[in-house]
């Protein structure tokens, strides 16, 4: 579904990604792990069309989306949930959700998506008239994911779902991602919580210094001596 080959990208003259190649198959749950500053978020931002690649190819369902604008990429079926979610803080939860469905024109489809998202996060429906800016961290994370689901994405890019959350809330967010995967969504998740991520995803890529170092099934990565030493400190 998503195929990245030899991607180079960065900010201005500062190159961060070096020859990154990775692949996500349909209905797969893939993780991209690595230490701070390895280029994980940059990878997601480049796929989402927020950063323009310097070179390389990003194929989504056979179409080259490298260098397309973010709104175009969203329209093609890639939803990106950023680390800080970028919610519309002065709109209500419900308005945020409806903005998420900006690219969806069909009213029935919109309602179906809304029912699905509220079914996944009943908390959001309880708070539907509250301003997004006044919600707690966990609720904002739910809203970020919920809003991205409203675009009816085929591929979901989630940046640091555990960022700034208490462990219990982190579990809740991961559970909702599990549910989405069981619904057949394709997910690429970037995380620093390596232990947790490798225990739930199918496959993983390990990124260091802007390059992909290791890749393989998550269970294998979790047992890899290098990963255990660097990330888990064992």
């Amino acid at each position: 579904m998503l195929e990245i080959s030899n991607l180079n990208a960065g900010y201005g003259f500062l190159q961060i990604l070096r020859d990154v190649s990775l692949k996500v198959n349909e209905a797969e749950y893939v993780s991209l792990i690595g230490p701070n500053g390895a280029g994980k978020s940059t990878t997601l931002k480049t796929i989402a069309g927020i950063i323009k690649p310097m070179s390389g190819q990003i194929l989504f369902n056979g179409e080259d989306i490298g260098g397309r604008s973010g709104s175009r990429v969203t329209r093609l079926g890639v939803s990106y949930v950023s680390e800080e979610m970028n919610l519309f803080t002065n709109m209500t939860v419900h308005e945020n959700m409806m903005m998420g469905a900006y690219t969806v024109r069909d009213k029935d489809v919109k309602h179906r998506l809304l029912d699905f998202a509220y079914g996944l996060f009943p908390r959001l429906e309880e708070r539907r008239n509250q301003l997004a800016g006044t919600m707690s961290g966990g609720e904002r994370k739910m809203l970020g994911i919920g809003r991205s689901l409203m675009a009816d994405p085929k591929l979901l890019l989630v940046d640091e779902p555990s960022f700034g959350l208490a462990p219990q809330l982190t579990d809740q967010v991961f559970e909702s991602l599990d549910t989405l995967r069981n619904e057949g969504k394709t997910i690429l998740v970037v995380e620093q919580n390596v232990n947790k991520t490798l225990s739930v995803t199918d496959r993983g890529y390990v990124m260091e210094n802007g390059r992909i170092g290791l890749e393989g099934p998550s269970s294998e990565l979790a047992g890899d001596p290098h990963v255990r030493k660097v990330f888990l400190g064992i």
Binding site: A48, T89, N90
Partner: protein
């Protein structure tokens, strides 16, 4: 239900915005009682149009993050376009009287003026701000501000070069005896200017609140990256916002043509006044700009009535300095940014 509503109103009255609005209303009432109803009428008529110009400024500031100092030039473009449309129509009407054409010709002129403002705004975004944005977003506020100053110089001198420095004005759009409002005679032009301002404001508010595109504009103002993430085409929204904001200035310029005849630097006064309003209510606060328009207009009317003609720029300026010192976020300002939201 009723009690909670009272509670809400009471709570609002205790905020800076509530106090200022309440004081303004009381001042207006006292001055009207003291000096006669013309105070009220003058405040309301000029306040509506000033609010319109300030709203355009606020929406451009909120969405594009541009401190627009060429806004008065779109006011000038509006007046100029209206002048060149209405003059031949009125000349034709003096030869061939036609009641229907006489009634619709002002609207024709204003529609042309609005379109001219919108096109000028869209071109400004496409030819000036988009290339700047593509080049670098660093230091954006300063660079875009300097660009608008340069643009203002070019537009003013372009007008001077092409159309000359003479005053291009009209006596009035509508013929007929002035209306009597609360014992004051008000020309139909003034009444229509106020009515038009209210109609446009209500239309604009509904557009921003209920249409998909209007909501997208608000979304961009609140979080640009978030807007990109949900699939909003930023480039289109920016062109549209610029066109809308400039069209509001242009329609104000057109409908006030009988008060402000068009000449190259006619936009200076509305520009300053609109900036007073925008700083007073808080940057980027669009609905606040409308209320602020009435408040600054009241301040101007009161200054002329009690202090004297010629002081009407001094008093608002002093007020702006005080606001910037004591409440820099403006009287309705809050830490949360967004068009149409406080």
């Amino acid at each position: 239900m009723l009690k909670s509503m009272f509670q809400k109103i009471f709570d609002w009255l205790k905020t800076a915005g509530g106090i200022t609005v309440a004081v303004s209303v009381i001042l207006l009432a006292l001055a009207t009682w003291d000096q006669g109803p013309y105070i009220l009428v003058n405040t309301v008529v000029t306040g509506g149009m000033l609010g319109l110009v300030a709203m355009g400024l606020a929406v451009i500031l909120g969405v594009l993050n541009i401190a627009q100092f060429a806004h008065g030039e779109y006011f000038m473009i509006g007046g100029l376009t209206a002048y060149f449309v209405i003059t031949p129509l009125q000349n034709y009407l003096t030869v061939h009287p036609n009641a229907f054409l006489a009634a619709v010709s002002p609207f024709i002129a204003m529609i042309f003026a609005t379109l001219a403002g919108a096109i000028a705004g869209a071109l400004t975004e496409l030819l000036c701000f988009r290339p700047l944005r593509a080049r670098s977003r660093a230091n954006w506020v300063m660079n875009s501000f300097l660009l608008t100053v340069g643009l203002s110089v070019i537009l003013v001198n372009g007008d001077l070069l092409i159309f000359g420095a003479d005053f291009k004005g009209i006596v009035g759009y509508w013929q007929g005896a002035p209306l009597s409002v609360a014992g004051v005679y008000v020309s139909i032009d003034r009444v229509m200017a106020f009515v038009l301002a209210i109609v446009i404001v209500v239309g604009f508010w509904s557009f921003m609140k209920y249409t998909r595109t209007g909501q997208a504009i608000r979304a961009v103002a609140q979080d640009e990256l978030g807007a990109l993430m949900v699939g909003i085409g930023l480039e289109w929204i920016m062109v549209l916002t610029m066109a809308l904001g400039c069209a509001m200035a242009a329609v104000a310029g057109a409908s006030l043509l009988f008060m402000y005849p068009s000449y190259p630097t006619v936009g200076l006064e509305p520009l300053y006044m609109a900036w007073f309003v925008v700083i007073l209510v808080g940057l980027g606060n669009v609905m606040g700009a409308l209320i602020g328009g009435f408040m600054v207009s009241l301040l101007k009317v009161l200054t002329v009535a009690y202090v004297g003609e010629g002081w009407q720029f001094v008093i608002p300026s002093v007020l702006i300095i005080l606001v910037l010192i004591f409440k820099p976020s403006g009287i309705f300002g809050s830490e949360v940014r967004g068009v149409l939201d406080q």
